[in-house]
Amino acid sequence: MQASRWLKPAFVPSHSRVAVLVALAALLTLLSPASLYAVPLGAASSLTPAVNAVTEEQLTVPVRAEADGIPVSLEVAVWRPDGGGPHPAVLLAHGFGGSVADLREQGRKLAERGYLAVGYSARGFGASGGRIHLNDPEFEIADARALVDLIAARSDVVTEVRTDGSRDPRVGVVGASYGGALALMLGSTDPRVDSVTAYITWNDLADAFFPQRARTGGAAAASDALPGPFKALWAARFFGSATAPARTAESPASSAPPAAAPTAAPSAIPPVATPPAAAPTATPSTAKLPTAQPSPVLCGRFDPTVCRLFLAATEAGTPSPELLALLRAHSPKPLLAGLRAPTYLVQGMADSLFDLSHADATARALQAQGTPVAVRWIDGGHDGTSSTATDDEDALTAWLDTSLRDGKGASGVPGFVYAAPIPRRQSVAPLYAVPTYGDGAGSVSIAFAPVDRPRSLANPPGGTPAAVSSLGGLPIPATGGAAYQLAALPGQSVAFDTELLTDRLAIVGAPTVRLRVTSTAPSVTLFLTLWQVTGESASLPRKLVAPVTFATTPGVPTSVEVALPAATWTVEPGSRLRLLISATDSAYAVPRTARADRIELADAALIAPTLNGTRVAGSADSETDTESIGVALAIIAALLAIGAAAAWDRRQRRRDPVRPDLADIPLTVANLVKTYADGHRAVDDVSWEARRGQVVGLLGPNGAGKTTTLRMVMGLIAPDSGTAYLGSEPVHPGAPALAHVGALIEGPGFLPHLTGLANLHAFWAATGRPTEDARFDEVLDVAALGDAVHRPVRSYSHGMKQRLGIAQAMLGLPDLLVLDEPTNGLDPPQIAAMRPILQRYAAAGRTVVVSSHLLAEVEMTCSDVVVMNAGRVVATGRVADLVDSADTTVISLDPRTEVGRVGAVAEAIGRAPGVTAVEVVDDSAEPRLVVTASMPRADVVRAVAATGADVVGVSSRRHLEEVFLGVIAAAQGDDISTGTNDSGAAHGSGGAGGSVGAAGAAGSAGEPRSLSDRLRQVRSR
């Protein structure tokens, strides 16, 4: 918004003050958009009636010529609603430095609302001719009356014809800043105006540029007092915005590069001036800087008189009486007696150019003469934008609708609305209202903390360095503590703190203080600011300065009452106010002579006005908590979604029915299938069962699916299909039936920081069952860890953890004990010790399932076996049945028999009648022949003996390993359909048979070789 914020505070040396001032002014104007001074009537208005289509007319209206006879015409735009009518009319006036282009949007909005809007570029601005007279009643105000004539002549405007035949249109005037003063002055001088709206404008231009907040000797009228210090910074901006090259509507200033400013300043003749207004009296190259004879280069489109007086004041730092008289005449103040139309005054608290006192003076004058008036204090102004802009627009619309369209006076808005300070973490000021401006005001007296001795300050020679408190609308670069340090220069300032406030205080208006000043000079200039101090940090919530200048007698105390800047403050309990009095202020021209002042508080209290307004429901309220409500709703939605998802899952959950027929079987595995995410089918239609008293061995090579099956049995992973039953209960995660199962799966898992015993207790505690059911003593006997149970598990060896894991599985002596590779990490004696334990455990009527790939171990421990390979069950049955069969005879030969001799024996036997197969087990310690024959075993032995072989043993049993490899080979043969003649391997009925060839045996035609290869294949999966 404020393009000028990049400017750094400039300390202007006095000898080149004018030149720098002009350059600075030119730069400022290039950067500062005039839209800042436009009345906000934007698109965001919430009061939206039917929208009319709008037609724009462009006119050129001749008005009074300049004093030197140069004719002047104004560029005028009319925005009228299509159809309907007649309409009430609104005359729009732009701000200083602006033009009719700035009014277009506002005019269209008004036309859409049913008003006929007329906007124009004031004399000296935009494409209009003439020079700037600063709202001279003879020129600018007369021009505005000419436009009212224009409106009166239109047939589409609500007009009444008076008795004398003249036409009185229903017309209101709306303007901001320069246009605001025009609105007041037009309303004061033209009785046809029915409604006046003046935004952020002046009451007395002399007071605006030479503000005086001192009231000496009780004289209240500031105009009678000495003019205050010159508001040099603002004067530069004000002046510069007219001397700089005029901006056209097509090229807004904000788009011009700042670098163009210094070169642009000399060519200040407006390129769009229609008549040859600016006489070419001097060429830019020969421009001098004579203040007595200002050239157009310096003055731009200013009227030469105004320009000369301004430049003189800038040089001197004090006004000439002539300038003061001119400024006072170009102000609403002397004319207000003629203003009878309802008037709406909007003034800002972020406005160091025209502060609230101007609106206050205007409002009081109008009230005194009975003119209906409404006042609004916003927190914007020339220094910033209003935080309540939307609300401001709505109020203006309501004001126009009632005062102008409906002719109901000032009833559209409350008599006084003010913006309180923006609360922490909010962005919009809360608005308060009272029915009548000036009513209900109270005041509180805030005591200053005692001051032990008089305090002094000095005005520095030359007036520099100057304190920085407000920069005429430019933001102060530093914040917090630094801001205060810039404002309170040591030696040049004194500060008085109030006592800590105990209650929250809302100040509305201008607080006052009384000082007693003893100076070394006949004239004293001081700048007062009101800070809020919380803890150690001082802040200046309203960046406004109260300047005072008064005459005094050196060495004699003078009392002076100072009105601090009017605004609203909220002072929190526990904080205090600080009155800072400074000899200098960088926004003002200050005396250059050195001076020392002793400053005392004449009254030990600050008098603060208060007001109890009622809160206006506005945009600040709607902002209060959409976020909380939104997030709270989101939480509720999330909870509902979670509830719905849980309910859906419950419905979807596959719950297999209870199978009462399986009640007597501790574990039934029925058609389990599991495919992992990577597509590997680990378990494929596996079914088996484990009955009471059995020790079931789950055999299979690595990767056969043993562990996956057991995980499904335990409910750790969900099968794709099929079910495991514990008794009659189907297994699912957390199934209560799992309480009857103890398990060791894929190694033990313990909390490393707990001892072995504590781990068992912790596990048992997690089951929630009574401690006495755990049978810790019996179980610890199984673990046989001795004193090691009192050591943390992290110190255990693998075997110790394994034994503790088996012990944990046995806790509570579950009906079903599932041990996955229990012998891992155990040494042979421990394995041997484990064997009878498991057998005794099952013998008591319980069930043990042991998965292993150690065949000998399973053979010795298990009563039953389930052989798995590649995710399938390839054999099940009793161990005894598997290894023992009637048609098989195992004949052990003398170890000293030669290898070739064994083969010969095998061939000889193979030829015997009734012998169906002979295999050679080429064990160097005990070479064996496995003979399958239909004849009785005694005949087989005889036949072998007949070959002359040295028979040392005969057995009916093979080792489980041989059976296992045979079964695997057979399954593998089926799987891969080799097509080879596997007769010897596949003949066993019910999967309970097989043939095994020893690795490396040259015996039977290469078939053993392929078997062992296949086994390797299986193992590698």
Binding site: S537, S575, S628, M714, G734, G749, L751, A765, A766, A844
Partner: protein, 295 residues
């Protein structure tokens, strides 16, 4: 070798009954049982040691270059030596910036994946602890531990401050003095508020932990999320969108120590945190309920 029981004989034996579970049976993985699992852990112990050490380290740090003049300043740290109250609030603020976030991520995020990494998770599920119950116990106990850590920090730093700097009431650098009677309830509310804001970190870590089974991923992920949030929170271009960034309002409890408390930011912060906590906790339960436990 010798053991070959006949099925018939087995069937006639007494079927060992499940232990009589009348009366003494409690819930699976009771809070007490879970607490015992967690308390002896080194990460728990070290976290509390760290919290205990922090005020002492701060006192030692302040002892360097301590001037004898009155304690003044515009920042909380400048006033930390003014008294136990200021010291406690400063210590709490210092810890809340990062330490407490890490501790929250650690306590809550690590609860499930640590069991997975010890392989003990499957045994808990076999006990059998229903899956939802397991998460509930873990969540409750870890949050209770976190709450205890916060309380210990506040009480302990107050005690340390009392010994080191005396009993002066709280002075807010931004204005106002709070007596102990005014300060104590505000400290309690600040602790509660911090706890609520940490819920979002905890829940996120919890969800990551349940998903990944990796303690480091859970804790690191949650801390990274917080760091990312604080980076996003500094980007003005995001405007009000930043309010939804996790932990955006984590310092809102400082509002409590101003003379008049503005609850807006704390209300927003608490609501956002609860929203994230609900969402991530819900996701964690949903994921764990159907998860294949392979660890």
């Amino acid at each position: 070798m010798t053991y070959q029981p006949k099925h018939e004989s087995v069937r006639r034996e007494r079927r060992p009954q499940a232990p009589s579970r009348v009366g003494a049976k409690t819930r699976e993985l009771s809070f007490r049982a879970e607490l015992r699992r967690q308390l002896g852990r080194r990460r728990t112990l070290w976290s509390f040691v760290l919290i205990g050490a922090l005020p002492l380290v701060l006192v030692a740090a302040f002892a360097f270059g301590r001037s004898s003049g009155p304690v003044t300043g515009t920042r909380l740290v400048d006033l930390a030596q003014g008294g136990a109250a200021n010291f406690a609030v400063f210590t709490y603020m210092a810890a809340a910036e990062f330490l407490l976030i890490v501790i929250a991520a650690l306590f809550v995020g690590d609860a499930v994946p640590s069991e997975a990494s010890w392989s003990s998770l499957r045994y808990l599920l076999l006990a059998p602890v229903p899956r939802a119950r397991l998460l509930t116990s873990k969540l409750f106990v870890s949050l209770a531990t976190l709450a205890a850590a916060l309380v210990v920090l506040v009480v302990w730093s107050s005690l340390v401050g009392l010994v080191a700097y005396g009993t002066a009431p709280f002075t807010n650098p931004a204005g106002g003095v709070l007596t102990w009677a005014e300060l104590a309830p505000r400290l309690a509310v600040a602790t509660a508020y911090t706890f609520v804001t940490l819920l979002q970190v905890g829940a996120f870590a919890f969800w990551l932990g349940v998903r990944t089974d990796a303690p480091l991923a859970a804790v690191g992920g949650a801390v990274l999320l917080t760091i990312l949030g604080s980076i996003l929170g500094q980007i003005d271009a995001l405007g009000d969108l930043r309010h939804g960034v996790p932990m955006y309002y984590q310092r809102a409890w400082l509002d409590l120590f101003t003379p008049t408390t503005d609850w807006t930011a704390m209300r927003h912060g608490a609501l956002w945190s609860i929203l994230y906590a609900v969402v991530f906790t819900g996701l964690a339960y949903r994921h764990f309920r159907r998860k294949d436990v392979l660890s």
